[in-house]
Symmetry: C2
Subunit: 105 residues, 2 copies
């Protein structure tokens, strides 16, 4: 169902801040807008991007609309990241590159 690109959703600092804010629990849209020195429509559109990426789910209650964090798509980001992990954790990778350079020389 998440037809939007999760990576593109994370590209914007406001949207990353929204996800961080939602880590403390569900928040209403207007309450979130207060944290970002931004007009309400702008925040609303950012929330729509996050919704399309499957990163938040909305729960209308009365005249408020509460947004909940839905972090599952972030697992996909971590999976994509995982094959790169050895390139900054293993010092062997840097060593291997050096050897490769020497071979080509």
């Amino acid at each position: 169902m998440p037809d939007g690109d999760v990576f593109a959703a994370l590209a914007n600092p406001v949207r990353r801040g929204l996800l961080v804010a939602l880590r403390d629990g569900p928040r209403a849209a207007g309450e979130l807008a207060g944290h970002f020195a931004l007009s309400r429509p702008a925040v609303s559109e950012h929330l729509a991007v996050l919704r399309h990426a499957g990163l938040v789910r909305e729960e209308p209650r009365g005249r408020h609309r509460y947004y909940h964090l839905a972090a599952e798509p972030l697992a996909g980001v971590q999976e994509w990241l995982h094959p790169f992990e050895r390139y900054w954790r293993d010092r062997l990778a840097a060593l291997r590159d050096l050897v490769e350079e020497e071979d080509d020389r």
Copy 2:
């Protein structure tokens, strides 16, 4: 020195593909352009974005210019991701949200 935004650099699928391709070892710019059904200048610009984000380093050798993967900035992405991990690994998080909803009702 990486003045560019790493998250923004990862937002583009071509740039993610470039990083994946560079995992197999250093590649020349023209060689990379062949993999993506894109004009060579376009790939060059994408490589410039990755360079500004500190995700690749270039090594001119002769008339070729080899690009190496520099994955260190990805560690920052994983760090940002880490606090969210429990929200899709722990089932307790979902349970806590349910309890919170019941409290508000």
